[in-house]
Symmetry: C2
Subunit: 364 residues, 2 copies
């Protein structure tokens, strides 16, 4: 049976998908421990239903590495260490690696001081922000993660992108499923506008402005213009503040100093800001858990709006998708599968290896 | 000349307005130092054009004090101190007093550890959030301030308010005018819906839901329902996270455990979360200022959308209003003036005193 045949199957075992991603990354020079972190982040995104930040990113990461734009052997290191604060230089490597290290340092700081704030400079796209914030949960700590990104949002009233859709993720440990907010500050990802342009579709009003700062439903005009921030000027203000913390304060690039992963000009210069809060410094963990359980229960017992079946906590829908996908596998589109096969072939990874990730073959 | 005559004048000298507010607060038992902080916060809000958080709040504060619901002689004290973390009990006093103390502690912590996180419990409405965050600026530190508030936003999909419009303020020192974001997480303040109800006007779609969780333009239906969060589920998620940090983690009340200042059931139980970040722990202050100046300049040099005269940094419009009002005085509506006169009369403060706050009499 050829690898292509198994590729036609739609769902994949998460563990096999991780091994596959890690193998690809190792083949382009990423050390095994780092490849494993990135693979875990990508597949975790797919598991949580955040497919835009899943294995679909792998070919892009690999491309940048092979073009010499991203350093596969990056060794993120602490370049500043001052009490509860540190700065990590990401060595132009994979963002997940530098950001995960930042959380580790943040956890140590928070363990000692109650709170830790770690800046990351000279990094790259770090995948799903929630993945980074969730690293703190294991230690019964709160994780707060901000990142800047290549410009797609214009300052309010402006006509040219200056700020990224800069994600904010906050993860709260509960003793059970964590509560996790993971949001970007744009109304929509630029990728969705690119997709509409490819498919010749128009985009809804309220997504984007053209290059003159006027509302547009034409995806091509939107791509020359800017994505609208959430909540108008408030979202612009938040995007700017994230950039101040993740870019300006960390010594990384900021605003239009950040290049897109689609550009080939060199390092992106992305920066992150990671904060860890030690709950035990505020109150005993059991007291906190009881209070969070009370909050969760109030949310779940909310009277429902007409036509709504259930009210969810932030991250609860993603947790439900993960539960389901752990059972049934991670669905990948035909296009994504083909891209991964192509990548494997280019890198000389046997299709036999690929065929092993097919879910139906898991019993073999 | 009677006090009423001068009341017809519309603009007031900020310093006189402060003295007036402080005198009123002292008369109901607030110690002079605390009265001065609150008066400063209220008039600063008016100066910045944030009139909803200006002296209009004074009668409400005084009412709660006179009803025995808020403690005028509150002495906020540290109830937990652990490394870079502390918790302040606000002693059910004026929120500005407890929050200002929290910033002071945060600054000390940040001076020592690079960052300080201070929770405030058992507090009350603290006026304009930016005022609190701006206290950190004087020390070349970043101030981040969150507060919970009485419920007005329903969880996404729910039909009953559970979270406040929980403000977030961030102030960044620049060496010149600080950059200041101060935003609530509701599309609109409940006060605006109350005003529409009083005036028999309808409200725009997108402001509120009725008690069945359905969109409504009827302000009466909206007041029985909930205010919409900014950016839909994202705003709900942020409001919840602010409540976790400001309410759950601090040991204060949270969700519908917080009472409105309009209720007479007892303490509101409002909580705050104050964080101070010491820039010097990240980089020399001059380097930071140069980088922030570069960011500001990029914003100001943005190509403009058609019909837009200028792009502003967060807080820049407020700073311009302040500059103007420092010259021309703080405008107060006839109704606000009358309320203040009424309050002064009730408290036996001479209208002669009031007449002194008239701007035109400043030369006397």
């Amino acid at each position: 049976m050829s690898g292509y045949e198994s590729m036609e199957r739609e769902k994949f075992l998460p563990e096999r998908l991780k091994s596959f991603c890690a193998a690809i990354l190792e083949r382009v020079g990423v050390p095994s421990a780092h490849a494993s972190i990135v693979a875990d982040s990508l597949v975790e995104a797919n598991l949580r239903g955040v497919d835009t930040h899943g294995v679909i990113l792998l070919p892009r990461y690999v491309k940048r590495i092979r073009l010499g734009l991203m350093n596969p052997k990056a060794a993120p290191k602490i370049v500043r260490d001052s009490g509860a604060v540190a700065i990590v230089d990401g060595d132009n490597g994979l963002g997940q690696v530098a950001a995960t290290k930042a959380v580790e340092i943040g956890v140590e700081k928070a363990d000692r001081y109650g709170v830790g704030a770690v800046g990351v400079r000279n990094s790259n796209h770090f995948g799903m922000a929630a993945y980074i914030a969730l690293q703190a949960i294991k230690f019964d700590m709160i994780g707060i993660v901000l990142s800047n990104a290549a410009p797609s949002i214009a300052p309010w009233g402006g006509a040219r992108p200056l700020f990224g859709t800069n994600p904010i993720a906050i993860a709260i440990p509960t003793g059970h499923e964590p509560i996790v907010l993971d949001m970007a500050l744009g109304v929509v990802a630029r990728g969705k506008i690119r997709a509409a342009a490819r498919e010749g579709k128009s985009i809804p009003e309220g997504w984007a402005l053209d290059e003159h700062g006027q509302p547009t439903t034409d995806p091509h005009a939107a791509l020359k213009g800017s994505v609208l921030p959430i909540a108008g000027p408030k979202g612009y203000g938040m995007a700017l503040m994230v950039d101040v913390l993740a870019g300006v304060l960390t010594g990384s690039s900021f605003a239009d100093g950040i290049s897109s992963v689609h550009e080939r000009g060199g390092a992106t210069g992305v920066g992150h800001f990671v904060q860890v809060v030690n709950i035990k410094s505020f109150m005993p963990i059991d007291a906190f858990r009881a209070r969070i359980a009370a909050l969760a229960s109030k949310v779940h017992q909310s009277p429902l709006a007409k036509g709504v079946a259930r009210v969810y906590l932030p991250g609860e829908i993603e947790a439900a998708v993960k539960k389901e996908r752990l059972q049934s596998g991670v669905p990948l589109s035909k296009m994504q599968q083909e891209e991964l096969v192509e990548l494997a072939k280019e890198l000389g990874i046997k299709t036999r290896f690929l065929s092993k990730i097919g879910l139906e073959r898991s019993g073999e």
